[in-house]
């Protein structure tokens, strides 16, 4: 059997486990980056070199930069780590982890009922991917373009700096009062 696959799989699982248990956001982000890079290695071992490249460029490059920018903007540091340490108690994570473990055990039982024959992964070249993407799945590409456009417009709209929004009946209007009082003074 292939030793590289198992080593990479172990690295992926360990890094992911560390992501969901770290207190400091930056540490969790760095471990997620390790996890994404080992995902890319797994894709390469499975013969999907184009997907491995995309994983590194888009996930480990672009999306992680977005996360880092947000953590920088929110100035999350030691206080957040302290807060997480208080929140992440044993009583909190025992139950949910048990439920997730039950789901995983169900999957193990389902998969083990099949005949697991080993195979040699054939490489699927970027040329085949491109031909399939722009012939069979052309409508999907156009829909993805619309989705990304909507995401950009939505993010620009949501991310605008607004003041605390009150209901319109609760809103005080100090300017009118000032105008009424001015003649008296």
């Amino acid at each position: 059997m292939d030793i590289a696959f198992y080593v990479t799989a172990a690295v992926t699982i360990l890094a992911t486990l560390l992501v969901i248990t770290r207190h400091n956001p930056v540490h969790a982000l760095l471990y997620l980056n390790v996890s994404l890079l080992s995902h890319a290695m797994l894709f390469y071992l499975l013969g999907a070199s184009f997907a491995a490249l995309l994983e590194i460029i888009i996930y480990a490059g672009a999306i992680m930069v977005l996360f880092i920018f947000v953590i920088m903007l929110l100035n999350l540091g030691k206080e957040t780590a302290e807060q997480e340490r208080k929140w992440l108690k044993w009583q909190v994570w025992a139950g949910p982890s048990l439920l997730a473990a039950v789901l995983f055990v169900e999957l193990v039982i389902l998969v083990s009922s099949s005949d697991g024959t080993a195979y040699e992964p054939a490489e699927v070249t970027p040329r085949e991917v491109a031909l399939s993407l722009f012939q069979v799945y052309l409508i999907g590409v156009e829909l993805a373009a619309m989705l990304l456009m909507a995401a950009v417009v939505g993010a620009a709209h949501i991310g605008r700096h607004k003041r605390l929004v009150l209901h319109r009946f609760l809103k005080e209007e100090p300017e009118e009062n000032v105008h009424e009082e001015e003649p008296v003074l």
């Binding site: 992911t16 969901i20 994983e55 996930y59 054939a122 085949e128």
Partner: protein, 103 residues
């Protein structure tokens, strides 16, 4: 490079990563960590697609992975904008404090 991988192992790995992502979403109270866990789950789904595409030697698995990637990029940009807005309005990332909808 010669290698032989059992499809069961890859699917089990994807399932384990997905279960870890679910556990991360449930046990965390900070929204940023929940978004990170959602990313883990999306990656696990992508791994399952790639494994299936590699098993049958078809490009469809990678095509689906590209769609998942585009969806994840859109989701992250919207989610992070929402997180910034929530932090400006509530000065906190604790999901228990966000109960103005009384859900």
């Amino acid at each position: 490079m010669k290698s032989s991988i059992s499809i069961d192992m890859v699917i089990l790995l994807a399932g384990l990563l997905f279960a870890l992502g679910i556990a991360g979403v449930i046990i965390r109270k900070n929204i940023i960590f929940m978004l990170l866990s959602v990313e883990i789950m999306l990656n696990a789904a992508g791994l399952a697609f790639i494994a299936a595409g590699s098993r049958w030697g078809q490009p469809d698995g990678q095509v689906m992975f590209i769609f998942i990637l585009a969806m994840a990029a859109a989701e992250v940009s919207i989610g992070l904008a929402l997180i910034l807005q929530i932090y400006h309005q509530h000065k906190s990332l604790d999901i228990d404090k966000l109960k103005e909808m009384n859900g």
